[in-house]
């Protein structure tokens, strides 16, 4: 760096400038690349530590609702659909559990709708 500092002129030639910029790019890539590697390694260590911790505490099996849907739940679903469709007429033919994170997707959609973007 010292040699570079003393050698780099105020008005460099094209090739000299290109070499200087490539060195700078390499410095940035090296710095952030080294960080990426270290962060990845740290992540692996933390994940491994987390797995060991989870093995000691057994996870209870997920509860799956069975049988008919209770009337109050159906009423709540109907009310939600009515609000979402802004009072338009509708008929519910089927009710099924959400898959592929539909609820979280809807939540995110609602949050992003609240942001005003130019």
């Amino acid at each position: 760096m010292t040699a570079l500092a003393s050698a780099f002129p105020v008005h460099p030639g094209w090739m000299q400038n290109l070499q200087y910029q490539l060195t700078g790019f390499l410095v940035v890539i090296f710095a952030l690349g080294a960080l990426a590697l270290l962060v990845w390694l740290a992540g692996k260590i933390f994940s491994a530590a987390g797995e060991i911790k989870n093995k000691t505490a057994p996870v209870p099996p997920p509860t799956v609702p069975t049988g008919e849907i209770p009337a109050p739940v159906l009423a709540a679903i109907s009310a939600a659909v009515s609000v979402a469709l802004e009072g338009r007429h509708f008929v519910i033919y089927d009710v099924a559990p959400s898959v592929h994170g539909a609820w979280s997707a809807e939540g995110r959609r609602a949050i992003y709708r609240s942001h005003r973007l130019r």
Partner: protein, 406 residues
């Protein structure tokens, strides 16, 4: 009696400042009006543009006891010079008094490079590095987006700017205001006003500049790529990250220490969970007060004599080039990373967020992603390269400081 009153009244007018107004000042009032209009009416980075524009207005009025302007060679003007009264005391010279206007003192926060690192303290306290830690590959996108800085340096150098000036102009492409001010103060203080205004204006224009470039460089299939959900990052991991970045970056580029050190201190305060009061101060009072002082001090450098020159227009033009190339560099590198098999696909739209401008650039990635697929949420993925860009720009500024400071 009446004649005496009229004579006194006319002699009072000689004490006013109307006769000191120049045409350059009047033109700058228009520039200040435009900046205030963009900030107030259209919400373009108002937190910075309002103080900058108001400071510029004050710089272009014949003020008293506010700031000293000293002409420099080359037509530039040095603002904020303190006059020291020295008194010999044995072998020492003692300061007997310090004279200057209000902003001669406040501007020392810029000249001594105190304000930009304090802004970084607040930025660190406001930033969640979780998305970056969960997907460390995105650090490389933050590095790739620095291409704009490097190419613009070469362009500025080719049209006659000196190397320190070219570095200050190129860093506009980093889209990081405090870093641009930090570097320019050190390398080319005569360009501070133009560089700061260009940097903050383009940051505000990110939603207009980036989308056409992003669309031109990606196919529809690229834009439809859905990325894997990010894993949960624990508090301990975030604390280790803050320490890692501090140690590694300062060891590699010591000249970036004030920026990186304060950024990571702010982030450590945020994540450690036991310094809530300090974190809130950094997130609110400190960053807000320093923003007012920094913005007005930068505005004070925009006197008409310095600002209304051909180089200012060139700087504003080159700043746009730097932004565009930085955006393209990030997008193309993301596409390149998708060639490597087995690492999971990256939506190239998040590459553009590597040009810092936190969080606006990440929001642009989100909006563009949703335009192609309304169910695709790229915001958190884009925050990775976005905050990596802050680190990348600080590293590059450190490289320029280390190699160009004489």
């Amino acid at each position: 009696m009446l004649l005496d009153v009229l004579r006194d009244f006319s002699s009072f007018f000689e004490l006013t400042a109307f006769h000191l107004v120049t045409w350059r000042m009047a033109v700058m009032w228009g520039v200040c009006g435009l900046l205030l209009y963009l900030a107030v009416r259209h919400g373009f980075e108002p937190l910075l543009l309002v103080p900058i524009a108001f400071g510029a207005l004050l710089a272009n009025l014949p003020t008293q006891n506010l700031i000293t302007q000293v002409p420099l060679p080359g037509g530039y003007i040095d603002t904020g010079s303190l006059a020291l009264g020295l008194q010999p005391d044995g072998d020492l010279l003692r300061i007997r008094h310090v004279a200057g206007g209000l902003y001669d003192f406040i501007t020392q926060g810029v000249k001594l490079e105190i304000f930009p690192p304090l802004i970084f303290l607040g930025v660190g306290a406001l930033t969640d590095f979780g998305p970056l830690i969960a997907n460390p590959r995105t650090l490389l996108l933050g590095a790739a987006a620095q291409l704009g800085v490097l190419v613009t340096f070469m362009g500025a150098s080719a049209i006659g700017f000196t190397s320190p000036q070219a570095a200050s102009i190129g860093i506009i492409g980093g889209a990081d205001g405090p870093t641009a001010i930090f570097l320019t103060t050190k390398l080319a203080p005569e360009l501070l006003g133009a560089v700061a205004v260009a940097a903050y204006t383009y940051m505000a224009l990110v939603p207009l500049i980036q989308p056409p470039i992003m669309r031109a460089l990606t196919t529809r299939n690229d834009r439809l790529i859905r990325m894997k959900a990010l894993r949960h990052v624990s508090r301990a991991e975030k604390l280790v990250f803050a320490l890692l970045v501090t140690v590694v970056t300062i060891l590699l580029v010591p000249a970036a220490s004030p920026l990186i050190g304060m950024l990571m201190l702010g982030n450590f305060l945020r994540e450690c969970g036991v310094t809530e009061r300090l974190m809130k101060s950094a997130q609110n009072e400190i960053i807000n007060i320093v923003t007012i002082l920094l913005g007005t001090s930068v505005g004070m450098t925009m006197s008409g004599d310095t600002f209304l020159r051909a180089p200012t227009l060139m700087i504003i033009g080159l700043g746009a080039v730097a932004f565009a190339i930085g955006t393209a560099g990030g997008v193309l590198t993301a596409k390149l990373m998708n060639i490597i098999p087995g690492l999971g696909q990256i939506n190239p739209l998040i590459g553009s967020a590597g040009v810092s401008a936190v969080p606006m650039a990440a929001r642009v990635s989100q909006v563009e992603g949703q335009r192609a697929d309304p169910g695709n949420h790229l915001l958190m993925h884009a925050m990775g390269p976005n905050v990596a860009g802050v680190i990348g720009t600080a590293v590059l500024a450190g490289y320029y400081l280390a190699t160009l400071t004489r």
